[in-house]
Subunit: 232 residues, 2 copies
Amino acid sequence: MRSTDLPQVRELQLFETTSGPNFEELMQAAYLQTFPAQLTLIHEGDPADFLYVVVEGKVELFASSNGREATMAVVQPFGTFILAAVLKDAVYLMSARTTERSKLLLVPSEDIRKAFEKDDAFARAIVGELASCYRGVVKDQKDIKLRTSVERLANRLIRYDKDQGKTGSLELPYDKRTLASLLGMTPENLSRAFNTLKPYGVEVEGSKVHLNDMKSLLILAKPNHLIDDRKT
Amino acid sequence: MRSTDLPQVRELQLFETTSGPNFEELMQAAYLQTFPAQLTLIHEGDPADFLYVVVEGKVELFASSNGREATMAVVQPFGTFILAAVLKDAVYLMSARTTERSKLLLVPSEDIRKAFEKDDAFARAIVGELASCYRGVVKDQKDIKLRTSVERLANRLIRYDKDQGKTGSLELPYDKRTLASLLGMTPENLSRAFNTLKPYGVEVEGSKVHLNDMKSLLILAKPNHLIDDRKT
DNA sequence: TGAATGGTTTGATTTGCATCAAGTCTTCTA
DNA sequence: TAGAAGACTTGATGCAAATCAAACCATTCA
């Protein structure tokens, strides 16, 4: 790994408290690599050889079973994926592919497990990350089990708006097919859900969305911070 | 906590590698308590004051939002619940109630976080437990997203049979209303799903289920170890 | 032990959403 | 730049599952 890349990596939450020598050792073994869009990085069922950290771009985690496929998550900077498999030295439960050109940090699992044992600050950062991943999946599960597809879309749009500065205008972060699959519906139904939200002030132009009546949208969406807040 | 209870607790995976003095200190602060059936232990949104470990009995984790409620998991011995909230000093994302009379170990969150910092073996056990919890929820999410309700029931029955010794006769571990909600369906639909499985050799007598034609049941269920195996 | 209560099953109907198909729009490529 | 390919929308239809209601069964209680 090139030394010019080190400061960027050092700023990642996962590594910023790690002691100097341990960080050096991890970075000796790691790779910072740029991958093109639509590249499958890992396959579910394979042994977990590396921990991946998204530095730039986006990575879709998806699962397959009996001819069916579903998007499980989309990881953005500076999230990790497959951390639990690395820590348990187990197989991946999901496959991963880039949705766009992406820069990823790959750290060998063995080195992650070693650093976990050696460096208390790193161990704490790892546990914080893993706990956040867990809580994120629990919230996704609540979203699916407790809301209709229209409600899920409405809350997702509100969240994207919030992430993008609360201007009422937002850019969908990935293509609609992936968004539909992530929300547990078909692309056709996503299209229909957008139409259902029209009377609530939602205007769609390709990947741009305008939320023109936040008040009524909130009444329909009924956000719940225990589902929608991704900071805690 | 009574000293006669210590050996039972010491055998829990979470504690068995913890050093003697650290274990003593944790147990000074902990409670081993028996609770009656149908008692709500924690409410979603509340701060996480204790880590809970199921020693005997069963605990249902459930979530509510906008007048709807769904069972998220049923924790059996010797699982923990709410570990991530404890580690992050965050709020509970789910409520919990006993499904039957249960003996639970309650350890104050502060003490868990302290021991995590002091005791490497304990930290490793905690991370192992958290990683397992995470992987369990990912598998549940895959179950919901990739399977029909009948398939989910079939695979769940196969799993219970396996857990109960592969005799082809099993006891449902909790009432059917809870099972239905856990599988993401209504009680009515659960009843219908059982009827759908009749031609595949599934016979139901109250809480007892007989799997009389495992071959054809497996063909319908199409188990996938990346969803159904709860050991890794 | 009979009545009350709660859990479950069954039937009828409705609803949310998937599937199939075709049309429209956008992007890519030779 | 025109045609091809892919993404998305729209329409029609079907289906899985929820909802509502009533009947039946099992358990609890006085």
